[in-house]
Symmetry: C2
Subunit: 255 residues, 2 copies
Amino acid sequence: MKASIITVGNEILKGRTVNTNTAHIGSFLTHMGYDVIRNLVVKDDPDEIGWAFDTALSVSDVVISSGGLGPTFDDITVPSFAKHFNIDLVLNQEALFILKKRYGDRNLKVTPERMKMAMLPAGSIAVKNNVGSAPGVFMELEGKKILILPGVPSEMKDILSNASTLIGNGDFFYYEDTIHLEGVMESSLAPMVSELMKKYKGKVYIKSHPLGIENNNPKIDVEVSSQGSSMKEAEDAVKDAVETIREHWRERMGK
Amino acid sequence: MKASIITVGNEILKGRTVNTNTAHIGSFLTHMGYDVIRNLVVKDDPDEIGWAFDTALSVSDVVISSGGLGPTFDDITVPSFAKHFNIDLVLNQEALFILKKRYGDRNLKVTPERMKMAMLPAGSIAVKNNVGSAPGVFMELEGKKILILPGVPSEMKDILSNASTLIGNGDFFYYEDTIHLEGVMESSLAPMVSELMKKYKGKVYIKSHPLGIENNNPKIDVEVSSQGSSMKEAEDAVKDAVETIREHWRERMGK
């Protein structure tokens, strides 16, 4: 099953903020058994947000977005999404309860800007946010699952973990290991990696990540991962490949 | 003028690697005077790479990609790009010279895996890489500029700065400042931000970035930026807005 991740926010596009959210969500989905196929980052703009959801949903079973859920004028992910898919925004009682409690505890009124965060698409579920004000929004659309999260990383992470039962598992078990090698260049390793990938016939994925060369000593991380039909199958395949790579490296280095 | 950024790499999608490259390229393009409108991250897959370039070029004057330029089997950005746009790959003498020198200095042969990095799209320019082996690839296509960079950040950054003359300036001057405020919630600031944005009629962009609440003391960074027709115009507009926000905050806090 495939998944895509959307990020809404000008600050990401301008490079003001590094997009750590997609990495967290990507890792979460991969370990849940989904194949993450695209990340899309768009502006705080209704048309761009609509385009991102259309594009992501056209190739994915699960779509998770982050950003644009706060109280300011340019936090427009939820209304833009709802308008684009012709879904009414309705006052969500659970979301309102969370907001009232949050602001009430601080003796603050639920202003129109704050009330906005309780207006959710009809048929959606408000997912608990233990860290901030805006709840996450979960809904199903044409058999696909959608989760809309705020951009603040601590809130995003909290809601994502609260939504894991709603999202459910994908169709494989994921296992990964990384081997750190020194003294061998990526280009020297390349033929062996190609050969191993053929040997494992797609069961194991191997990718070398060069970390740079210092004092003429190249350093590489080799990522070895597997998407198995059971965790044991994935783990066995990875461990076997890791051992083969280590042996090859030891021979090469005369160790 | 608009720009989009593509990242090619499964490791980004799986969240194994945080996508710092798009932040660096996004900041570079913004300060060069381009409006960065989309980031697309796709797999090391020819069809996905083709889709990303099509999508980015359809809405942008400049497209910069990073990732998939190395010597391994899944480094396929350049051949995938060339095939998708029906451009022949030809041996680039300058790229070959760089490779020969780099590997020759280490007494290593230019193997087929290494030679791959010297096969560039016909009509493209090899952009110098002072850090690694693979040169950047610059070309113009239907009046749009394309720059293809490797994924290793140090190499990407080096080539990007070497390509700045080829990319050239966009159509505005960018100025930005950030104000750090404490003791005020984003939702309390929201009405004032909306008002200020109206006052400056699109000349100034203001965005609050909540940093979280500790000991009931909320912290916010307020980003104030402007895209002016001169640097002075952009700077003046930002400074004026910053002063107004500071005053508002001082009044609020009774300082």
